[in-house]
Every structure is written in C-alpha cells, then in structure tokens.
C-alpha cells in the first residue's frame, strides 16, 4: 500500500503540534520498500517529543536501513486528539517517514523504557489494526516485538508480544532480520520457533506458566524452546559508532541537542538501579571516537549543544580532556546528564558551563550514610558537602538533589535525613550567595527485576505518602528548600507492572480498554483503573506490589538472564540488609556477578585507576567488605 499522507494531511490542521507527525527531520532515511525486504516499524509508545531523541531507536533505524534486505521506519504514539480523528476516519497507526500504514510492515517493534507506557503499547497495536493478543494473530499479521530496559520482566506484556529482545540490539536486530527473511512464506508458528533459536530472543508463547496463589509455580518451556534466554551484549562500543546521522527534529523535543554515548554499562553497583545491573560490563568508547563523533555531529546538525551520555559520565576515563577540547571549540555548550557527587565533578561542570550557572543536579539518593550503604550509593557527607560547596562557590545559585524514599530498611530517621542534608546544603550556599536555594526531589522506590532489591516488598502508597508528609512538615518553614515529590499513586501503578507475572496482562488491558492511555502524563493517569483491573483479575496489591519475595520463590523472570547470577543478587541483597557496601569492580578485583564471566567479555576501560575526587571506596574496614575472592 502507498502513503496515507493525502488522508492524514487534512487532519493535521485540526490537531495540536502537527509537526510531530510529518517526519522530514534532518537524518531521516528514505527507505525503499520492496518485496522480499524485511520491513520494521520502530515504534516509541509515547509522544514524538519524548520518543524522537531515543538513541536506541535511532541506532537500530540506521543499522537496519544500511542493510540491502531491510527497511526501517519510525512511529510514535499519536496524541489523543489525533487518535480520535484517526479512529473516526478509519485510519491506522502510520510511519512518520513515508506515512505508511503499520500493517505494511513485517515487524511492529516497540521500545519499552518505562512500565507506564504499557497501555500505549496496546493502543498502538490496536490502532495498527493488528489483533491485540498474539494468540489471535495469523500468518498475515505483522509480528509485534519489544526491546529496551523493561523487557527484563516482559511478562505483563507476554500475551501481546510475539517476541522480546534482551540486551543490546546492535547485533541481534540483524540476526532477527536474517531469520525473518529466510522464513518468508512459512507459517507463523514455525517462524517464531526459528526466532527463539536466536540468542537474546524470547518468545513468550513458547513457555507455559503455572501459579501457586500469588506466586509463579513454574515456567515450563515447550519442546525446543531454550530453558534460559540470555541477554545480548556487544563486546566493544568502538565497533558501533551509531547513530552516525542523529535525527535533527524540526519541532521541539526533549534533549534537543547532539547526544554522544561515551560508555555503556555501570558497575558502581547501586542496588536499586536496574540500568546499572542489566547493562554490565562497562564498555567505554575510545576517546578519539568520541571526539570524532562530537566534531562531525556538530558540523552536520548545526546544534550548539552536545550531551555526553552514559550512566555516570564523570567516570569516563579522560573526561577532562574531552570536555576541555569541546569547550575550547567555540560557542558549544556541553551537558553531562549524570553527574557524580563530588567536587571533582563540579570542577568539570564549571569548565563547561561558563555562563548561566543557574542549577546543578546531584543524586545522593538517600539521606543518611547508613541508608546509602544499604543501597550501595557510596557517597559520604564530605563528598556531598564538598560538591555543594564547590558549586555555590563557583557561582551556581541553585542545587537540585534527587532522593528515593521507600528503600529497604528505611526508618523515619533516614527519611528525615533528607531534610537535614538539604538544610546543611542551604547553609553552605548562604556562605556564598544570600539567595542560594536547594530543590529536593523525592521519588518512591519501585523494585525492579535483576536487581538485589527484586525480593523487596514495595512500600504501600499510604506509607510513601506518610514519608512525603514527614518531609513536607519538617521543611515547611525552611526558606531556601523547595520540596518536590513524585505522586505515590504513580509509583504504585509502576509497581504493579514492574514485577508482575503474566496475569498482569489482563490488568494492563483493563486500563487500556477503559481509556487509560498516556499513563506517564499526570493529566491522563488513572490509578482507579489500575486498581479496578487488579480486582477484576482476582489479584491484590498486597501480593503483587507490597509482598516480600522469598529466596526459594520462582520469580516471573527466572527463565530470562541478564548475566547476573541469582545467588550473587541474593548475597548482595543480604549484604544490603547488613549495611555492607560493595566496591566498583571496574578498578577492584572481580566478584563474579556473572555479567562478564558468563559471556566471556570484560570491561573496556581506558584507565586502570579510579577517577580523582570523591571517597570512591566503601568507607568500611577491609575485613567487613563482602566476598571479594582472593
């Protein structure tokens, strides 16, 4: 079928921000569809403004379009005003590149970066005109697939997805394309079997689940399906200098700047952090390649800002040199989206942000040193205070601090420790600037799969609200501290989806069927639909969200692997409860978490020593440090 543009065009005059549906970006590909080519529709299940900058999607878009036997286009969830018009005119989900209907593609592939977008995934499948449940699809229907961080527990979407990809997509996307090309014309079931043979590909329909009350009793692979699906990891980022042609949108989006990924993976070992656990090991991009990507990217795009992205950019070996060079080449500003908390980092920030020092953000995550040892965020008060001192001293007027509440073993003393830290930071700021202020941003903790905290029962909504109130009351008269918090209701809904089993699929479907789309947007969020959905499925928040899981319990994602040994995670969970920190294995001996050893890969780090600044270690006597093998 050809382009839907003639039918879409008259509708775009009637919707908000129509530019998000036109494509035409600099860097957009002009895919030529042809019989025999495998066609992918890479779909971000949230708005264009949120989805366009997604680097994972852009990387796959380029890799696929470089292949002679594949084409890839992009799609984003239409905002509610356009959705109404599409449905009224009988028009489907479409690509923004050539405005083709979604059903013209062989694969509708979603990027899952957050749980609250799940209902949008269902909406997009339905808008595409594809049967919602994978069991109802025929040989003529496109495959529905997903990748991204949330796929480490894909079970809530198992009924809707034909296949799921675990880990880095750069290599596996080509292997999947090979299988789809070579099996054209074969029955759907045979093609899915063939896909299940690709390492990193999980086909949910090839596994049967049985339950024991709130728990999973067993996940049984059907004959021929692998007992354990392993994630994919690219060994060296240097082999993948993507995106080469980063998309430059014509309209405003988040992170509207050049983005260069300087490393992937993080071994700081923060126990609440799923990203850090599932993307191990650390793989740095060679500094020369970083420089080249910055220079050619700025020239090509015309951007005047570049972000050096990673999970902790100050840890990049030789960060100072790279930053200095970029800052030296004219009117270009550099942003470091993830700053470590120490004075060294502030020094780097100062060297790149010569003008407009308005706000600087740190994430101490917890209010007391005890709590930070539990979560293995090993920043002591000196680190924080010296960072804050250095920031105010060098002209910043506002410091923003991120914290989590609802962490394991948290007491009210820990919660109130957040307020105490904020007060001390304001006092430091007043030394330099009478209008110094500190913004405290508090989020509720949601335990995630493949982290040491995956066994922890999430705080109830009421408990999180009580902790927010504690802080609010404590800081009520504190001029100079501004408190912001994430709605505990949204934290609750995220908890339903994050560790749920396949039975949560009915809940997601209930929310969607009752109009609950764009659940990440507060104006559309509907907790009542999530709770009704749970009740309708015969499930209770006490079991799904608030319950501590036990050591012998089968977790819904036990048939998947992020490389991490389950006994490593369990031991790390016990160490957390004993308030024992664990050092970064990038610069200390391996403690065999499994992420390297299991796949015969290792860290790619240019510097053998930890970066300057900060306390770095666990701050504990050596004999207390857990389990470092001789």
């Amino acid at each position: 079928m050809s382009s839907l543009w003639p039918q879409l065009e008259p509708l775009l005059g009637q919707v908000q921000k129509p530019a998000r549906y036109i494509g035409c970006e600099d860097g957009a590909q002009t895919p030529e569809h042809a019989a025999g080519k495998v066609a992918w529709l890479l779909t971000y299940p949230d708005t264009y403004e949120i989805g366009l900058p997604n680097q994972g999607l852009q990387i796959l878009y380029e890799i696929l379009n470089e292949r002679p036997d594949a084409v890839a286009e992009r799609s984003y969830a239409p905002w509610t005003d356009l959705e109404v018009l599409l449905r009224a005119h009988g028009l489907p989900l479409f690509s923004v590149d050539t405005h083709r209907p979604a059903r013209d593609f062989d694969v509708l592939a979603f990027n899952l970066s957050a749980e609250l977008v799940y209902t949008n995934v269902l909406n997009c499948i339905d808008l595409a005109g594809i049967p919602l449940h994978q069991a109802d699809r025929t040989d003529d229907d496109p495959f529905v697939a997903a990748g991204g961080h949330c796929t480490y527990n894909p079970e809530p979407l198992a009924d809707f997805l034909d296949f799921v990809v675990l880990g880095d997509g750069e290599e596996v996307v080509s292997e999947i394309t090979d299988v789809l090309r070579d099996t054209q014309g074969q029955p759907r079931a045979a093609r899915l079997r063939a896909l299940a043979d690709v390492t990193g590909v999980y086909v949910p329909s090839l596994y049967d689940v049985t339950y024991d009350g709130p728990r999973v009793a067993a996940m049984t692979p059907k004959p021929g399906a692998p007992a354990l699906v392993e994630k994919r990891t690219i060994a060296d980022l240097a082999d993948w200098p993507y995106p080469k042609q980063q998309l430059v949108p014509l309209t405003e989006v988040v992170h509207d700047r050049l983005n260069v990924e300087v490393f992937r993976g993080c071994t700081r070992g923060c126990r609440f952090c799923q990203a850090g656990m599932i993307t191990r090991p650390v793989r740095e991009r060679p500094a020369d390649q970083v420089r080249h990507m910055i220079q050619s990217g700025l020239r090509r795009t015309g951007y005047d800002e570049v972000a050096l992205t990673s999970l902790s950019t100050a840890d990049f070996s030789g960060i100072e040199d790279v930053v200095e060079e970029v800052a030296g080449c004219g009117d270009v500003s550099v942003s470091l989206p993830s700053l470590r908390v120490d004075a060294f980092t502030v020094g780097i920030a100062a060297s790149i942000q010569k003008a407009r020092r308005t706000g600087l953000t740190f994430a101490p995550e917890a209010g007391t040193w005890r709590m930070r040892r539990v979560i293995n965020k090993l920043i002591n008060e000196n680190d924080l205070f010296s960072a804050v001192d250095s920031a105010f001293n060098q002209g910043w007027r506002r410091v923003k601090l991120y914290f989590l509440i609802g962490l394991p073993t948290e007491t009210d003393e820990d919660t109130l420790g957040i307020a105490a830290l904020a007060r001390q930071c304001v006092a430091i700021g007043k030394k330099y600037n009478r209008s110094a202020s500190v913004t405290v941003s508090v989020g509720g903790f949601v335990p995630k799969a493949f982290t040491p905290f995956q066994w922890f029962g999430q705080n109830t909504m009421q408990e999180l609200q009580r902790k927010v109130n504690l802080l609010r009351d404590d800081l009520r008269h504190e001029r100079g501290v501004q408190l912001k918090w994430h709605d505990p209701k949204a934290t609750m809904a995220e908890g339903i989806a994050s560790r749920g089993d396949r039975r949560i699929g009915a809940v997601v479907e209930h929310v969607w069927r009752n109009g609950g789309v764009f659940q990440e947007w507060s104006e559309h969020f509907r907790l009542d639909l999530w709770l009704d959905g749970l009740a309708a499925a015969g499930l209770r928040p006490e079991d799904v969200v608030y319950r501590h899981r036990t050591e012998d319990e089968v977790l819904p994602w036990d048939h998947l692997s992020a490389g991490l040994h389950k006994d490593f995670l369990w031991q790390d969970w016990r160490d957390a409860l004993d308030e024992l920190g664990l050092e970064d294995c990038r610069w200390t001996p391996c403690y065999d978490c499994g992420a390297c050893t299991g796949y015969s890969i290792e860290h790619v780090v240019a510097s053998a020593t930890p970066p300057a600044g900060g306390s770095q270690g666990t701050g504990q006597p050596v004999e207390l440090r857990p389990r470092i093998p001789a």
């Binding site: 543009w5 775009l12 549906y21 036109i22 494509g23 405003e252 795009t301 951007y303």
Partner: protein, 256 residues
C-alpha cells in the same frame, strides 16, 4: 551589515510553527558557518529578525528574515547554499543587502496577499458572498480574546478580495488583508463572509509595503516566479495532490 532573505514555506514543513522555523534557521546558519552577529550577554543569540509570523499550517511564497552579519557574504550564491541546509520545503529565493537604518519588517509591512481555500463552497456562491462583502459598510465578526467576546469590523482591513476558482474541497479566494492595526487572519475573512465557513489550504503569496499610494515587496529582486512554481510543482507531485494555488496566474485586483 544587515541582509534581507526571502523564502518560501511549502508542503509538509508548513505544519511547523514560527518558533520551529526560527530554530531551523539558527541551525542552518551555523552549518554554513556564516559570520552571523551575536547578541551580547550570558546567552548570546544570533541577530535574526523575522517579519510577520506565519500560522502553523499555512504555506507561503513570501517569508522574510533579516540577518545581521559581521562581514558580507556572496549574496548571489547564498540563496542556493542556504536552501540546501534547510528542510525540504523551505526554499530561499532572494538575498539582498539592507541600507543602514532601514526600517524592520515589523515596522514596514502593511498588508499581505493570501490564497484561501473556503471549504465546501461552490464558486458561484462564493462570488455572491464576495460581492456582498465588498458592498457592505462594515464586516463585523465576534471573536474571543482573553476569555472575553470582542467584536471587530474587518471591512477597513479587507483591501481586496475576489474568487479564483474551484478546488477539490471548495473554492479558492484571493485577498489582500491589512496588517495594521492588527493582522487579520484568513480564517477571520471567511467568518466575515459567512459564519461557520472554514479554511482549507492557505498560501501567503506576497507581503506588501504601501507607501505614497504605491506598493512594493520587501525584496524587489526575488528570483522569478517560475522558480517558485517549480518548487510548488515538486511538492504537488510528492504529495499526490495538486496545490489549490496552482490555478491560473494570479493578478491582484482592486486596492485599498
């Protein structure tokens, strides 16, 4: 030195906003590494000054932009060079130097000529509405401004209007609308013709500076219209639908 650029905005890119277009220009000028002058201060911005904003969704053959430069570029090749750095649909058609002290576009432009598609109207019906409107002493419309209903007489601002011919979805009008005391929108003209009448495609074909009973365009040396039509044909083909403005050559009738 200051230069004035004229450009067209046609096709899909018409769905971008005025602010979006400003950002496209900033990136294009940086890519060409033109010696653009920057503002002083903590967050230097390139010294660009746009004329009348074009509503999101409207097309134009006559958009203008003044740029301040530190040194003089080659103005003969500049339109071509800039066009290659801008998205498909933004086409630069002229670049001229501005005399020191020339008034800004905002100060100078007094009216615009528009091609406006009136949806669902037959040409004959349209013609009678136009005749009635031109004969009327006043054309009162009611609009909401800051939550209050205000009435406006559009008649003094309607400098010319006539019917061009049928389009797939209605009838095309050509109108010259004044910019002062406020810029009259094409949709408001349609409301004045008949309540409930809505616009389809809208194309700005010219901006005018009226002085001493004569009018001229802000850039008198625009590339020949043939080139503009060429651009438009390219779009018409790409979009598999003829542009309503690709009708007979347009001669402006009447005047204020």
């Amino acid at each position: 030195m200051r230069i004035r650029l004229r450009f067209a905005k046609l096709g899909k890119v018409r769905f971008t906003s005025h602010r979006d277009v400003a950002r496209m220009w900033e990136r294009a000028l940086r890519r060409l590494e033109l010696p653009v002058a920057y503002t002083e201060g903590f967050s230097p911005r390139p010294k660009l000054s746009f004329g009348l904003a074009l509503s999101t969704g409207h097309e134009s053959l006559a958009e203008y932009l003044d740029v301040e430069l530190r040194e003089e570029p080659d103005l003969t090749t500049l339109p071509e060079q800039l066009s290659t750095q801008l998205p498909v649909g933004i086409d630069v058609t002229a670049a001229v130097p501005l005399a020191p002290g020339s008034p800004s576009l905002q100060e100078d432009v007094t009216s615009c000529t528009w091609r406006i598609e009136a949806q669902g109207l037959e040409p004959a019906e349209t013609e009678s509405l136009v005749i009635a409107a031109l004969a009327a002493d006043e054309l009162v419309i009611t609009r909401t401004r800051k939550g209050k209903e205000v009435t406006d007489d559009l008649r003094p601002a309607v400098l010319a209007v006539h019917t061009v011919g049928p389009t797939p979805a209605g009838t095309e009008l050509e109108a010259e609308l004044a910019v002062h005391p406020r810029s009259v929108r094409p949709a408001e003209l349609l409301l004045a013709l008949r309540p409930g009448l809505t616009e389809g495609r809208v194309l700005r074909t010219a901006q005018w500076i009226w002085r001493d009973d004569a009018r001229r365009e802000p850039v008198a040396t625009a590339r020949p219209l043939r080139e503009d039509l060429d651009v438009r044909r390219r779009f018409a083909a790409a979009e598999q639908r003829p542009h309503p403005a690709l009708g007979p050559a347009f001669a402006v009738s009447g005047s204020g």
